[in-house]
């Protein structure tokens, strides 16, 4: 009897493996023609190990880079800065490029995880100066801008009758059980601090205590905490409003134009992702070739097509304006991607809070742990 069961098991397992093997083979890319590198760097490396955010790189970049430079791209992904940081800190990884967000860069530099870059080998002129020389890396010694975005309020205008205009409005009892928040302690505690008129990066225990009490009132009204894909629950109608980021808001709006993205009066959260090179990266020539090549206007415009965020690469916007008018107009006409200057000026950057990090975590645990 047992033998028979085993036989059936073996047959089914083999059959499913066979099916899986047949399913392979990537679909052929469309008619994108790989542009010539503007400044072809001599590359002797045969590999480049990149460690990037989940779904954050156009597929053509890899194909073209492999084609033009003959370098094989090994591509790993992460879904939070903390995950990337923990992996680099543990050692043993051999990544040549990572994409840290602003607040974690200072920490990574202090921990000796990043090495300085040589700006002379990079197309720094392509970038909008607003995204260079930021407080997290003065003089861009360690980082090159990649993409930027905001965390702000999204609501479904068809269903939400009283549109929120500020973070403070989210405490409106009308919204109870209809909210989706990022599962991000710094953003959510931070926006609570903003409603109280405090700094988003405060380390003052009294201010944090006040924020905790205020946030604890709101948490039971939140139906879902999701930092992976909050748009899914919004589009599916499980929730009607909440806090989300640029890319999610843009995609949700394309799905249903009723989704409206609002920069709260207290100021949104502004963030910026960057290229950085881990200490011990062994394929530096390929690193410079990669950042330069993908950073040219005729390559970087693909980000406009695939990932609707704020594009700090001016050359890409210029290229799109003449060659991809439709994408360019969609980008420029949306306040989600083309953020009004007033909202940028009003926005806040999250910074590392050092010793207060466990306190933020404890507050998060307490407000979520409340019975």
């Amino acid at each position: 009897m047992k033998d028979k069961l085993m036989k059936v098991l073996v047959v089914v397992v083999l059959a499913s493996m066979l099916l899986a093997a047949c399913g392979g083979g990537a679909p052929a890319s469309d008619e994108f023609v790989c542009p010539e590198p503007e400044n072809k760097i001599e590359v002797t490396s045969t590999e480049l190990n990149i460690f990037v955010w989940t779904e954050y790189i156009p597929a053509e970049w890899k194909t073209c880079f492999e084609q033009v430079y003959g370098v094989k791209i090994n591509h790993d992904e992460y879904s939070s800065n903390e995950e990337m940081y923990a992996k680099l800190l543990a050692g043993g990884s051999n990544y040549d490029l990572v994409q840290p967000t602003d607040y974690i860069i200072g920490l990574m530099i202090r921990q000796g995880l990043l090495q300085q870059i040589d700006q002379n080998k990079l197309p720094m002129a392509n970038f909008n100066p607003n995204y260079l020389n930021k407080a997290f890396d003065p003089g861009n010694k360690y980082t090159v801008p990649y993409m930027a975005g905001t965390d702000a309020i999204i609501y479904n205008a068809d269903i939400v009758t009283t549109p929120p205009t500020s973070f403070a409005d989210l405490w409106n009892p009308e919204y109870a059980g209809r909210l989706v928040f990022l599962d991000d302690s710094r953003v959510i505690i931070g926006m609570t601090l903003l409603t109280l008129g405090y700094d988003i990066n405060t380390t003052d225990p009294a201010q944090l205590e006040e924020a905790k009490v205020k946030l604890a009132e709101l948490i039971p009204n939140v139906k879902l905490f999701d930092s992976d894909s909050p748009k899914t629950a919004l589009i599916a109608g499980d929730v009607d409003l909440g806090i989300t980021w640029t890319g999610e808001a843009f995609t949700a709006q394309q799905e249903n134009p009723a989704f409206t993205f609002v920069y709260p009066t207290e100021g949104a959260v502004l963030w910026q992702d960057n290229w950085a090179v881990p200490t011990g990266a062994s394929h530096l020539d390929a690193v410079y070739a990669w950042i330069s090549y993908t950073g040219q206007g005729d390559m970087f415009w693909l980000m406009l097509r695939d990932f609707p965020y704020i594009v700090p690469n001016q050359a890409a916007l210029d290229f799109a304006e003449t060659n991809q008018a439709e994408l360019f107009d969609a980008y420029m006409n949306s306040t989600i991607t083309n953020v009004p200057q007033a909202a940028i000026d009003n926005a806040h950057l999250i910074e590392d809070v050092g010793d207060a990090t466990p306190l933020y975590d404890q507050i998060w645990t307490e407000v979520k742990g409340g019975e």
């Binding site: 098991l9 202090r110 998060w364």
Partner: protein, 307 residues
């Protein structure tokens, strides 16, 4: 000499155990010792471990604080104990419900015709071939406000001309429990089935001959003889449920923090490996204590393990 060694049973046993031993020492014992050492350390502002001997992480978990607001020298904050309690009660509820659902099904399979038995067992195993997380996502599709279940009920209600307000199912504690039961049911069915299958039919006939009605037979014969299966299943279900958090995150909307979330956050967002290590050890010790008292009362399900 060499020949004698070769014939030595103990030596043969050692040789056979070496691969597993290396594995267990390298990937279990040593990491466990490291976890213990780190748990007594303190955290630097950047989240590095400063080695030393401090009990403050344990004091924090048990909620004992000397920084009190009302002038007392020592006070109690039950935050982390509440989280442990919540995980414990979720594990307890899941286990009890899984037993209640698995037992009748196992009984049905064990008493069915041997030819059908394999088909039924096969059906119990099939879901396990799909990744755990993907199956939870399938439940999300079912439970959404505009998901499959609400869609079907709404359609039927529409046919009957009734007004239907979609049920709020996803992101509720009920959804978490449904997901948990679904996930762990096979781990209870299989051991209970194994112990029920071993009960010989003449035992039932003897019970009937001696005048026991079916209910009494079940209570006095079937249930005691199948207890080893229930015990083994309980151990297989209870321990993993204590540390899990994927189901509660995806189906519960991350509204609550379980001990699994708490530990994970210490190594990521909070960057406090010392507190995370202490919490891991406490979880392990607590699970051990519960399992110890449980197995002392009911045995270890030895028959199943040896079977």
């Amino acid at each position: 000499m060499l020949k004698r060694l070769r014939e030595n049973k103990a030596f043969q046993g050692t040789i056979l155990a070496i691969p597993t031993l290396i594995f267990m020492v390298g990937l279990l014992i040593i990491p466990l010792i490291l976890t213990a050492i780190i748990s007594f350390g303190t955290r630097s502002p950047d989240g590095n471990v400063i080695y030393g001997f401090s009990l403050h992480n344990y004091a924090r978990i048990f909620g004992i604080s000397s920084e009190c607001q009302n002038g007392k020298s020592i006070c109690f904050d039950p935050l982390y104990m509440q989280i442990l309690g919540r995980s414990l009660s979720l594990a307890f509820n899941t286990t009890v419900l899984v037993i209640l659902m698995a037992y009748p099904l196992s009984y049905f399979i064990a008493r069915s015709h041997p030819r059908r038995r394999n088909t039924f067992l096969f059906m119990v195993l099939v879901p396990l071939w799909t990744n755990f997380v993907i199956r939870v996502y399938a439940w999300m599709m079912l439970l959404r406000t505009q998901g499959v279940i609400n869609g079907v009920i709404g359609w039927v209600a529409g046919l009957l001309g009734l007004h239907f307000v979609p049920l709020e199912m996803i992101y509720t504690p009920g959804a978490v429990l449904v997901g948990m039961i679904y996930e762990f049911l096979p781990f209870m069915i299989l051991p209970i089935f194994t112990s029920l299958e071993k009960i010989e039919t003449p035992l039932y006939e003897a019970a009937a001959d001696l005048g026991a009605n079916p209910f009494r037979t079940f209570l006095r014969v079937t249930l005691p003889l199948s207890m080893p299966g229930v015990v083994a299943g309980t151990i297989l279900v209870f321990i993993p449920v204590m540390g899990t958090f994927i189901v509660s995150d995806l189906l519960g909307g991350k509204q609550v923090i379980l001990v699994g979330n708490l530990i994970q956050r210490q190594f990521l967002d909070a960057r406090d490996p010392t507190f995370g290590s202490a919490a891991s050890l406490i979880l392990m010790v607590m699970t051990l204590i519960v399992t110890y008292f449980y197995t002392r009362k009911f045995g270890f399900g030895e028959e199943i393990i040896s079977a």
